[in-house]
Symmetry: C2
Subunit: 125 residues, 2 copies
DNA sequence: ATTACTTTTGCAACCAAGTTGCATTAAGTA
DNA sequence: TACTTAATGCAACTTGGTTGCAAAAGTAAT
């Protein structure tokens, strides 16, 4: 497990997550930062941030990867599990701070869950 | 909206879904049927079956597309919404017949949801 | 059956997201 | 300053899925 060095690229990405309550997709980041860093670098930094409990990732309705800031997570474990919402009109995704009850499933061990609610956001209604 | 013709390829796919309670991924189908039909054909038939309410599709934890038989759906609407379970060890996915309560979210219109529970299946425990 | 019409299929080429290998560069440390 | 190791850029690659188009196969009427 490599140590995370505070490189310019890492700072740049951290700044984006700090100023952003919504989730951000890898594709958006690659486009946003295409002048500043390579897409490989972006993917690799995101992976490190995730391993360190700083961000979490999830898949959207189209199978694209999104990232958002974690709250209360660490390298040891991700405890900040919550549903995400995606607007089927504009594609925007955000984290929802509601609690979803995951039922017990017989004969299976549930470790975590991905809940994606799909609909229309406020500005697309 | 084209009529679905009962071609050999369609029959083959329908037979697979009939004999299969679990979900099947597009990749699995392509591999399974690689001697019998083209992958383009598989994707197109799956799309038609979905439009007709015969199967439903969803994304797994890695962003791959999975399909499973619908119950009580039609071309008009998909009412068979339920969570799915994926084993993080063997990758198998199945449909769960439990009801998950989706909370009201202020200022948003929720149209449907994708719930994926991730853990270990019976044979991988 | 034959014809005419429309859907379906195969193929090849393509696209986009994400990954890998490797040489180079930049952090952290003594 | 020099050393060690992590981080980066680049190009090439992998993979899941899509598109355009000509050829083949369903379907229904004659």
């Amino acid at each position: 497990m490599g140590v995370i060095r505070k490189t310019k690229s890492v700072e740049t990405l951290l700044a984006i997550f700090e100023n952003n309550k919504d989730a951000v997709s890898a594709v958006q980041l690659i486009d946003l930062l295409k002048e500043k860093m390579n897409k490989t670098t972006i993917y690799r930094i995101l992976e490190r941030l995730q391993n360190d409990g700083i961000v979490h990732s999830f898949m959207d309705k189209d199978g694209l990867k999104w990232y958002a800031t974690c709250h209360g997570c660490s390298a040891k474990q991700h405890i900040d599990i919550h549903p995400h919402f995606q607007c089927q009109n504009c594609g925007k995704v955000d984290c929802l701070s509601v609690d979803i009850k995951i039922p017990m499933i017989p004969n299976r061990q549930i470790n975590f869950s991905q809940v994606l609610l799909i609909g229309k956001c406020e500005s697309c209604l």
